[in-house]
Symmetry: D2
Subunit: 383 residues, 4 copies
């Protein structure tokens, strides 16, 4: 008989929807070692969470995460809330012996992530971080090529993550723009992704130097928030996170890193681009064309060297066999499905998934060093 | 209480999987006027269809389409079989008063499509053709722009559809390469899509001229077929459909059409590209980058005229509000979900969906004229 | 002492300028076996041709091509006039024992080209056709790869050539729109290029099928023509050439050809794109990005197959050593310089350059078959 | 009668060739207010410089720049030597009352540039810096659009300049890798270009933060150097300049700057990419596709917003009227021709050209601040 993993999800908006979709699809497309059961979804607004439960097919709902976490029929807590709730939920879940999937960034600060990691390790539960881009076929292929030595020694890693959804100065002061809820702005939200990809592809950071900017310092208070959009309400409030961040890094292996993240790059909607240059070749990737990977090899004969555009939709590519025939592209949401498949598999097989809280904490360590660097205007070493 | 439409699906391989996914996802992401209920899936191989039923969550399965069609608890028959079954199933379904969704191409020949259309009209059921690309956000946007007159008078339509999955001469003789099952080769399978898009975007065909070629005339018999892939079996057999087709057309509105479709274009996996040139501008689209639409306007000021790459992932774009925030791309499968949403809506609201059997028959008329043209080496008028 | 080839150029507008530039630059960048001497330029309008002579550095000018052709101090006649003068000048030049460089298309019809070829052969002069795109580094590289068997057996050749400079119905009736001067419209002007490239890359045509269209049948008479632009004058006249042509072809080696050329493709300025698909790979090229060649190889390992974008600006690429360091792109005019270098070299070394009048006549044979096909609506065999 | 400007060029290798070509072509394509006369070319190796004089058509040659500078028949000294000669030649030329065109970077350090500027100003000569990319049509268009306010307030400028010509650790220790001759490595050679473009497009720097790296610290001594290529000689020596640099900046107008330059980016030959993000739109540019400019406008209607690819080859674009018809692309060298045209025009009309030594010195100020920042690991203010 098929093993079952009972899931309780906290959060029902953008991330809650994306994770719900992943739990629905994973068992349809993947033969995992267990099947996720959509036991309960949790949110503070009863009307909202009830509707979400109905829409996404959760068997029940809760309006208190404490109650959800203490339910005996839940094996896995999925934390898809704003960042300021991550620590409390994760610690409680671990103490209740629940496995945990946690959205990024892991928490508001390094101390919180350390506490989360320690509690999870003490409890012996499985923990995973929602760095979903590690599970895009193109990124897995990139990682495989690098691990196989196709690029040789790495000289450069660079990554940008650009959006433009708050470029209008009248866009309201949503929670992602408040330090006490989001921790950081573009640096935390999008920076966490590219820091994690840097670690995944190149290795550990050695030291960082950062500068940040808040271009629009005051915004209208929000009303009628829906996902990432919101209408203006009464009054104005202070933006307490960064709008943009530039940072440079040195990696332990000697590579240089160049990073930039902003919510003020007109025309870029979800433009996460990374590039790795090594002694034997280069790799580049753009999230807005996530079915493609660019690869250059200096080992090709001289007159036909060039960047290849690999359409990562063939059965030889990671995860693709589960989906469609050649050339049928997948979307952003599919990496979330891969994540659920791998997580469920890991729990069922009693192995620790990656990336996990160790990775989340290391990412937070870098984020914290970046914040400190931006405040103190100097290079900060990563311990 | 929410209205329900009970669905019976015939076919459980590539198309069966894609349609199952659409029935699963449509009610999660769209508020349609009714909800599809996955009543039964049907296939000849009991083991296969039973597994499919379990995997995709169909409540029951059948191994006889006749039995499925006669079940009283089914409202809608979805025909996702090889082409040679379309006519019989559709006619029977219509006679039983079932609504019908039929995969393309509609049937083996024009007579069959006429019979299907007539029976469906006589029965008063809703009928829809699975020309799924009409429901890609980029294509809907293209159609809207053309309808609004943004391109002015249309001078040129061109479309290619390239794949390379049978380029290896030892690739086996699967059903898509046999006339008695598939009707046509690249011309029917991929040609049907671009003919339909031409009609959707530009209008009716006036006359056509075609040439076809079968590069590899004999292939190994297949064994162990899985989706579009297959292993070689014993013996060899004759390929009885085209590998490639080139055709030119004149449209009723005076535009010229240029078309090409082949399964021998090395490196192109699912490369369906269309372009429309009008007196005021141009539009182009590539299925391998289906989240993008290229638009050129002669009405822009002279020194900044250029093809725009529109990332069709914003809430102002067709169907996108149901999905993710800006810049989060969708995949090939999503158009199938849109199709189910629109079909269910139409049935619930008692309106005829489009494209329907009228469109399927008109597409078949063009396909038949193309075949005739290729045989007789002359232009053929479309009645 | 360096050998010298004395050049007389007929034509001083677009082509005259491009050829003059080539004679200026070739000896600066290439060590040819001789040096071209810019002896005389010829044109009907004395003021215009005198200015051209001064601007481009021609030692003298003539207003009669007959006089130019009979000058004893001229070794090479360069025919850069409208098409209707090609035959007379070429025949006279050959009879005077002058070598000839002739712009494309070769002449108004096949009979003229045959006469030109025969006279040139009888006179024993060197003759060359100005199919300049054969001398783009990317095209030479493409040809080399095909000749080396990198694509294997060729299945498909396709080419389009799109412009939009006459899309405005009020654009005047310049000479390129009149049959008696230009011979053909888009078919001759741009079609000649892609027919020649097809022959260069794939081989001889076997049969062709064509349709043409003149979208705007009447236009204002021109006044104040400057290069490709012109102002409206008084009255209106009939357009007697095609605005657009679509044609299909079969090659002797079994490949299929698909072609389209138009001056009504809004947004395309000089968009000549070709693609070749073979059993082992594909190649594609776009004149608007002429420093790049796209190459796909099925012999790459499966998971990293993809179209390579080769920046054809390295010293390992054809002609590039003469120019700049890696990555410094060249322009459209550079192929003209390569052409002069190769022509001067051939004359000095007493070898026949290619493409020559044999190629020009074969191209004309195809053009004539296409015209006939468009008139008679049937396939025409190439003898 | 046409005014003449007599030119003396110092340097005959890569830059000498590029400048010679510009003096040859400028009077052919542009009607400047004077005509440059190629009086003399100068270099230390007599055989080399004599050949260059013959090849490029210089009337005479010199082996001593001191002698060239003192010649009475020279009006303009063009300094195309390695960086360590710039100061001495420029100062002497100014003292002799010669106008000056100087290649970038302006000199080895800020003191030198100040001396050069002061001497030139005291002498009242015209001076110009060879920041040639300011004269690419796409860059001029970008500047025009920004000046017209099309982007509104600028938030971000970013630029990278990547090459890979020294990625092989056995590539020899050519002069560009030695501090005493080149001053800086990638930072000076390529960094100077993107710093100048930043100033041209966005405005003055306020402060900078930089880090540099030399990946390969020792290389073979060179033998048989030809342009940018060289063969290995005996022994090894120390690389005394940077291989790569990353820097961040703040501009006076509040914009953030992100920069990276390296000679270790495998697959990038001459990849200079810049992007500007403003409140109303964005612009981006890539030197390897220098005939294109990408422009995004938030003022387009919502559903058709997208980055436009403008092919900057129309008569409405800067400098293009002098060249070819629509869509006929130009090459890297053409900006050098524009530079000569503008310089000659300025001299003839007695106006100061831009960019001039003021710009060269300001660029050097930024370079010097970057060096200091890299040494001291802290932000440095630009005075």
């Amino acid at each position: 008989m098929v093993k079952k993993i009972n899931v309780g999800l906290v959060g029902y908006k953008f991330m809650g929807k994306a994770h719900s979709n992943a739990y629905i699809k994973a068992p349809v497309f993947f033969k995992s070692a267990a099947v996720p059961v959509m036991k309960a979804i949790c949110g503070r607004d009863e009307k909202g969470v009830r509707e979400a439960a109905e829409t996404y097919g959760w068997q029940s709902y809760e309006t208190s995460w404490q109650k959800l976490v203490s339910r005996k029929d839940i094996d896995l807590i999925d934390i898809s809330t704003p960042t300021n709730f991550h620590r409390d939920i994760a610690v409680a879940a671990a103490q209740e012996g629940k496995h945990i999937l946690c959205e990024k960034p892991m928490a508001l600060n390094l101390n919180e992530t350390k506490e989360m990691l320690k509690t999870a390790e003490n409890s012996g539960v499985k923990h995973m971080m929602g760095f979903n881009y590690r599970r895009l076929p193109a990124i897995v292929l990139a990682r495989n090529l690098i691990k196989e030595g196709r690029l040789g020694k790495i000289y450069h890693f660079r990554a940008v993550y650009f959006q433009d959804w708050i470029i209008d100065p009248d866009f309201p002061l949503v929670w992602r723009l408040k330090k006490e809820i989001a921790g950081l702005g573009a640096l935390g939200d999008m920076g966490a992704h590219i820091i994690d990809l840097a670690r995944f592809l190149v290795g550990e950071f050695d030291s960082v130097m950062c500068t940040t900017e808040t271009f629009i310092k005051e915004r209208p208070e929000p009303a009628a928030v829906t996902g990432l959009t919101a209408k203006k309400g009464e009054g104005r409030g202070e933006v307490t996170v960064d709008d943009a961040a530039i940072f440079m890094a040195r990696f332990r292996n000697g590579a240089l890193g160049a990073f930039e993240t902003t919510r003020f790059a007109a025309g870029h909607k979800n433009y996460e681009c990374i590039e790795v240059n090594g002694e034997k070749g280069s790799i580049s990737f753009n999230l807005e064309r996530l079915n493609e990977l660019q690869v250059f090899s200096r080992e090709d004969e001289e007159c036909t060297q060039g960047f290849k555009t690999i359409l990562v939709t063939e059965s030889s590519h990671p995860y693709i066999k589960a989906w469609w025939p050649p050339g049928h592209i997948i979307g952003w949401e599919h990496a979330m499905v891969h994540q659920v498949h791998d997580l469920i598999d890991s729990i069922a097989r009693d192995t620790m998934p990656t990336p996990n809280f160790v990775d989340g904490a290391k990412c937070q360590e870098v984020l914290e060093a970046l914040s400190k660097s931006a405040q103190q205007n100097r290079w900060i070493n990563i311990p």
